[in-house]
């Protein structure tokens, strides 16, 4: 343990700027940690030590010359391996794209480069952000740093694992039905899916055009807002990008939440699905903490979770199959079993059902917006269960749909997953905080107040003792 693995972006940035730590020393320490521990965690598909050290030396020289670019300057990060970096393979964790070299940077990669971040490597994912955890792919699945016998969540599995393991303080994931927030929940970190269109998807391999979001993953809330400041913004080359003005997502951090109106969508986790008791108790304790901080708690009732989930899944599978049909015709054997089983459902969804799912989507967007008029943010479950064991594929398959994240992909509103502590067996518990469109700063405010009151955002497991 060198201490670098615990550093937040915010703390590292201050130390780098003041010269207390060197980007070169910081990057070397994290690369050494990856070298020591990632053989058991499998967070990375590709580590890029030479490029990282070169970038760190450049950052150090720039900062020493007085050209500090901002809070990510000299700070290491990782990217889910469906995000393009020029000259580097984007494999999507699949044999299908094992030799696919990106010609240009994704917009989010460009922004992180311009901000002076140090890319340490590309992280493992479920195949094409949907098929996993799988042992029949060219790379093994990521393992949960809290207990390597357990699932990380997915599909941004390596990004979640890399953060929990202290390999990086920042990573990007993507989220179509919950794929940033699921690994955040299972790895005890913080994952935000902003408003649809808030972050450019250009250069990110799609899963479902209507539902895909790129999101920041960090250990704590302040860091998440800092990273969102770097990656968010209008991109005219992404047809789904929103022409919203730039926002400082850190602006409300530290502000009192007395009088904040918080709605609890309790029926998602105690009626529509019944959450594991420890998970449910964690959320109820969190609600008590928020009440104790002065929030005004009420209850929100929406349509049943299964209506949100069905519309999300129909749209997701239809669009995913449209993307993969050619390869399924020509080389179905090159997909992993789980990807094949999940995506080919899209071949059998009728056009009328796809259209009806988008009609339901429009209705549920209105429903949520009307319910949110009475509150500032909402709270609900993320996962219904703590992470299951990797050697129990049947159990993992049962738990796959036991989540309340898809409603916020369908409706496009911001949602953050934050830790609510650990289960009796030492595995992370979590909840979601949901906001109104383009009101991410409010979501961060509430999440940060909760985190500061509990200290849950700062925990990482001791890898050296396992």
């Amino acid at each position: 343990m060198t201490g670098f693995e615990q550093l937040s972006i915010a703390a590292a940035s201050k130390k780098i700027r003041s010269g207390d730590i060197s980007p070169v020393e910081y990057t070397r320490a994290l690369l050494d940690r990856i070298e020591t521990h990632d053989g058991r965690i499998n967070a990375f598909i590709r580590v890029m030590p030479d490029a990282a050290m070169a970038a760190a030396r450049t950052a150090e020289a720039e900062i020493a010359a007085g050209n500090w670019r901002g809070p990510m300057h000299g700070v290491p990060y990782a990217l889910k391996d469906i995000i393009d970096v020029a000259g580097v393979p984007t494999t999507c964790h699949s044999k299908i794209l094992a030799d696919n070299i990106a010609a240009t940077d994704a917009e989010v990669s460009r922004r992180l480069k311009d901000a002076g971040g140090i890319l340490l490597g590309k992280t493992s994912t479920h195949e094409f952000a949907i098929g996993g955890p799988s042992f029949d792919l060219p790379w093994p699945p990521a393992r949960n740093p809290w207990n390597p016998d357990h699932f990380t969540g997915g599909s941004s599995s390596g990004s979640g694992a890399a953060l929990a393991a202290g390999f990086v303080p920042a990573a990007l994931g993507t989220d179509t039905g919950g794929s940033v927030r699921n690994p955040a929940s299972f790895c005890g970190i913080t994952g935000m899916k902003g408003t649809y269109g808030r972050v450019s998807r250009r250069g990110v391999f799609p899963l479902s055009f209507s539902l895909d979001h790129v999101g920041p993953m960090t250990r704590g809330v302040e860091d998440n807002a800092i990273l969102m400041n770097v990656i968010a913004g209008h991109d005219p080359a992404d047809p789904g990008s929103a022409a919203e003005k730039a926002t400082d997502f850190t602006a409300l951090l530290g502000q009192d939440i007395t009088g904040m109106r918080i709605g609890v969508i309790r029926h998602f986790y105690n009626r529509d699905l019944e959450a594991d008791p420890e998970m449910a108790q964690g959320i109820e304790r969190a609600i008590d903490v928020l009440r104790g901080l002065g929030a005004d708690i009420s209850e929100i009732t929406l349509s049943p979770l299964k209506e949100y989930a069905a519309a999300n899944r129909i749209i997701l599978l239809s669009e995913a199959f449209a993307l993969h049909e050619k390869w399924f015709r020509e080389r179905p054997q090159d997909y992993g079993e789980l990807t094949r089983k999940r995506v080919i459902g899209g071949a059998f969804i009728r056009g009328a059902d796809y259209v009806n799912a988008t009609r339901v989507k429009a209705r549920l967007v209105r429903e949520l917006a009307e319910a949110m008029e009475a509150v500032d943010v909402a709270v609900t479950a993320s996962s219904m269960d703590p992470p299951g064991r990797l050697d129990d594929p049947d159990g993992l398959e049962v738990n796959y749909g036991r989540q309340a994240r898809a409603p916020f992909n369908l409706t496009g509103v911001p949602a953050i997953a934050v830790p609510t502590g650990l289960s009796n067996s030492g595995l992370p518990l979590s909840m979601q905080i949901v906001g109104k469109p383009f009101d991410e700063a409010r979501v961060y405010q509430v999440a940060h107040a909760y985190e500061q009151a509990t200290g849950f955002g700062a925990q990482i497991p001791n890898l050296d003792g396992k």
């Binding site: 393009d84 519309a311 399924f328 015709r329 179905p332 071949a347 988008t358």
Partner: protein
């Protein structure tokens, strides 16, 4: 309606040009077809003519830039 697909999923897969899938993974095809049907059955049935799709049409769309694997 039940969760089982009314038509022959293998035949449908072949009609869609997915012969290799139909030949190699018949159980996956059947399960996928049944899952698709059960999803459709989970949608609310009370949509009316005023419930329009969530598509947003913009007449000024430019050709998007392509990623590496597009």
């Amino acid at each position: 309606m039940s969760g089982k697909h009314d038509l022959d999923p293998q035949g449908l897969a072949r009609a869609f040009g997915l012969d290799r899938l139909a030949d190699g993974y018949p159980d996956d095809i059947a399960n996928a077809a049944n899952f698709a049907k059960s999803l459709a059955e989970s949608l609310p049935r009370d949509l009316n003519a005023a419930d329009e799709p969530a598509h947003v049409f913009r007449a000024d769309l430019k050709k998007p830039e392509q990623g590496s694997a597009s």
